[in-house]
Symmetry: C2
Subunit: 413 residues, 2 copies
Amino acid sequence: MPDRFPLPDYLAQIHAALEKQTRMILGLHSGTSADGPTGAVARVTGAGETARLDLVAHRTFPYPRALRELVLAVMEQRTGSVDRVCQADVAVGVFFAEIAAELVSEAGLTMDDIDLVASSGQVTYQVIPGQRPEHSWEGLPQYMAMLDLGDGGTIASQTGKLTLSGLRRKDNAVGGFGAPLVPFGDWVNFRHPTKDRVVWNIGGICNATIIPAGAPYDAVWAFDAGPGNMVIDWIAVEASSGRLTYDEDGRIAASGQVSPELLAHGLRAEFINQDPPKAAARQLFGDRFATEFKRVGQGLGLASADLVATATALTAEVIARHQSRYIDPKCRAAELVFSGGGALNPVLMQMIAERVAPTPVVTSDAFGVPVDCREVFAMILIANETLHGRPSNCPLATGAARATCLGHIDIPA
Amino acid sequence: MPDRFPLPDYLAQIHAALEKQTRMILGLHSGTSADGPTGAVARVTGAGETARLDLVAHRTFPYPRALRELVLAVMEQRTGSVDRVCQADVAVGVFFAEIAAELVSEAGLTMDDIDLVASSGQVTYQVIPGQRPEHSWEGLPQYMAMLDLGDGGTIASQTGKLTLSGLRRKDNAVGGFGAPLVPFGDWVNFRHPTKDRVVWNIGGICNATIIPAGAPYDAVWAFDAGPGNMVIDWIAVEASSGRLTYDEDGRIAASGQVSPELLAHGLRAEFINQDPPKAAARQLFGDRFATEFKRVGQGLGLASADLVATATALTAEVIARHQSRYIDPKCRAAELVFSGGGALNPVLMQMIAERVAPTPVVTSDAFGVPVDCREVFAMILIANETLHGRPSNCPLATGAARATCLGHIDIPA
């Protein structure tokens, strides 16, 4: 830089972060279940092949009731009006900035210790051409588009930190689904020089990342398989008249019987029977699917607990089928690794274990990744790559035409 | 930077742009009328006090019919569903990238000549707490929020250039309306050491920027006054059964009579009678206002041409009243400068001239700013400030709590 330009503050901050041996990055992510964001602070060294993450602190912060209801309203075409999109985008940004401050304080740190904030926001709405015909607008092509709420400008302004957000848009821009974004983080955290690794996440949707032994990043693949917790949650909310938000510890499922007829009905969903690569818009297994699932079950004379048990079996069967059809022929993992809220449901995990036996089933904690941190770790590592000007999407997973840097940068000033 | 980190490409691009004596910036903007974006390429030198802009090429590109209809649908709460917001955000981004390429080619340049793209996108929806009670979501505070369509990631990806977009969000984040954003550009392009300057823009909404003689930027003020072309356009579309999109050259207005009763009705709108600072959400003078204006006019027995003439007089009267009430007491401009589509409507300009006489009325062309370029020039100059890490919003205009850098940066890689 010539003398006539002092280095602008934001550039000085980027340079300082890059020059550090270890960067402190604060990540924020809220998935399709919309229970509330998980925040994590981590020390990150290196980039690309040398990237490494060490967890400092993490916590999941439930949304206040009113904010969760607004977020859920925005997720549905019928209730997601433009004024609500605008309001929710800022309201989620404000909440993310607040929990960032809380998390930093709980960790015994101050914002001065943070080099960068990485926010993938609240997953909200996804357009995948062909998945929902009502999305088309006459005379225009459909485009991949994914809306994450939580304005990065608001987060940068209120935390006072450089903020990377909108992490899915550039993958959309090169024709990708914008999801899953976990592969890069999975490659950093789970890869092994001589062992194949398979990592399943059970969030609202369930997905798998496959990391062949010693693979470079561009040999990693991933796909969404079908419903994770979404249908189970929806039925549990209905069955409890809104008292529960999910089937805690699988207690309702444990008290019911799986219906083979209803399970077979669920498994006929078109998406579940498609070959990867594929990604499921949250709306694909939302209200409409769950309502129909319940209607068919009630037609079979099933009680509420049976509906929950069968929804749980549906997720287990979806995972087992995709494992045997698409993953086992290409890769032999010593164990299947699970993360996401579903990994905390013992009834679901037992159902999966029975179906994939004799392969053992473990949670990601065994690899230093708390089950609720896998996605936020991915977002932290993606932001670290972008800071270095490196691509981090996974074209084999998202169907993108090429690798690309993810996210945009908001300046705190 | 230590040797172990080669400067990432995006940082090298930012440094290169800052080091240049003259930067070539391509700006894109589409206002509340949603006719289509204006693109401009300009040479920019300096920053802050020394910023200067020289126009290289500009053109307004009408939206294809289907895209304009989608944009208009997203502007209304009733038709602006989340799936359309997602689709329009990408579709507008794709269109902006296409016209960027066309404009560069028309100017005899290539994208290699462009240092930075500045896009304020398509103004779409604005939430201003208190202006529209139906925006409130029970249990949550209202936040300033403004949605501009035209994903910056898409533009960066398709143009291959560093892109600044989302220019209003950081002003929202510090409590500002997010509009008007023109003051910085006006200060650069119109200020004078010894003369007061008043610059009116007549887009969908009309607004004024006041630049006292020799004023530093933080003494500039601005406000939205009320409807600009929006109501005139709406009535002209209705009167022509959709054959026209606006009253070209004011021909319909010229053939009608202004109704003092209907004019008085229009002038009773609450917003018009509020004191500045103030900003008008486009929706404030949208379908609902125009429908009521027409209904009252028809009740008075007015013909279509009378309605158009009276809508035109309403804009003229709004400008004249705000000029005499709020501007004249504080500043004496030798002439009033006009820009925006309304400046090309001779009937409207004549009505304004009569009301502000003896002060002469001129268009911004006299100051080197084509009437359709004033806003896009502002966006180009804002991006140049952000590149330098400098704030460029106008707290006296937007009501923001403080000055802030505007926009987020998308990396092309």
